[in-house]
Symmetry: C2
Subunit: 197 residues, 2 copies
DNA sequence: ACTCTTTGGCTAATGGTGTTAGCTTCACGG
DNA sequence: CCGTGAAGCTAACACCATTAGCCAAAGAGT
């Protein structure tokens, strides 16, 4: 009979913790039953705060995006050019390693049409805009900018995904391999600016 | 009372078709019930041919890896250096676009310890070895080779994953963006060789 | 202070999933 | 012609998300 005092934020927070604790597959393993259990509540009660399991996953994606965005912003402030890009890449990877579940949630792409996912799209656009801002210091032509953003996102994301999934043998030397990749991207983006100038 | 005449291969083939037809989420959406339905058989009957849903997914991953490997090998034969690397990258992306569900299955990482997944590990190693073979033409020092392989895999995989997930707005210009990324990787690997020589 | 409305919890029920156990029956080998 | 193994089946169990409907707690208004 006493009330648990839940709220949408509380439920999402619990879900985010569960996802985070579940490692790279934490998002896929997320279940309303587990959330309800740790909240000390019956499963259907969650529907008073959250529309569905899919919606809860999207909310988790939102907090993940927000976290990644603020972390990335914090680490690139005051830097520019290659320096900023390196810092961004390092922080991105650090986030993925520290919170693998949440990083997987970032990967969740919002539906481009669904109106209720507008906030999600905005959050996703925010982190892409951050990459754009960092790359702005490279003085690229507008039509090359988009290629550069995509290349950088692809490189960093690909490495992090493969690392998290255990796609690389030999746990050592991963840092150097990552640095090598970032060097390639930095050099590539620099060259992209140089060609057009 | 008549017998359906199934076999492990037949079940896996049906599953692979379902995964392929299901788009990028086809692997996650794979269900024993659907396989049984298209096979014209009751769900539990599948256990006579397949250990579990997870095992079936791994078998699908195996056919996906085999397909990707033969396609990649076919397209790089007779080429070397940047030419081979470009062909490999293009084919990789083409595979992902033509068979998004199977590409997701490729992403399934085998357990490094489980003995029953040895074949899976071998298949995964085979496709990585193919990348190594292509990069062999770049004349890298041994300790730089691994960095180059990882960078190339990360770049291609990252781009393809983001593209499949709908992470890129503006469907046009994707080809040019991909070429830009590959140019960066080719230049980066070349430079890696030049520095050490 | 008493009511009335909202809201956050509950139980019950439905339809879906994977998985196990145990039975039957087909197809083949001695 | 029988026996044995494999390939189907049904029944059952344990989970899952989701919906419907009820009930009581907390707060608003007089």
């Amino acid at each position: 009979m006493p009330r648990a005092g839940l709220s949408q934020d509380a439920v999402v927070r619990i879900a985010a913790d569960l996802v985070d604790a579940g490692g790279p597959t934490g998002l896929a393993d997320l279940t309303l039953a587990k959330v309800a259990a740790t909240a000390g509540v019956a499963t259907p009660s969650l529907y008073k705060h959250v529309g569905s399991l899919a919606a809860l996953r999207r909310h988790v994606a939102l907090v993940a995006l927000a976290d990644l965005t603020t972390r990335s912003a914090a680490v690139t402030v005051g830097r520019s050019g290659p320096d900023a890009l390196r810092a961004l890449a390092r922080e991105w990877r650090a986030f993925a390693r520290q919170r693998p579940g949440l990083y997987a949630a970032v990967q969740l792409a919002p539906d481009p049409d669904a109106p209720e996912e507008a906030e999600h799209r905005a959050a996703a656009a925010r982190v892409v805009a951050l990459v754009a801002a960092v790359l702005h210091g490279f003085d690229l032509a507008d039509d090359r900018m988009i290629d550069a953003i995509r290349a950088v996102r692809a490189g960093i994301h690909g490495f992090v995904v493969l690392e998290l999934a255990g796609g690389f043998r030999l746990p050592e030397d991963l840092d150097r391999s990552f640095d090598t990749l970032i060097d390639m991207l930095v050099a590539g983006v620099l060259k992209l600016g140089g060609d057009d100038a």
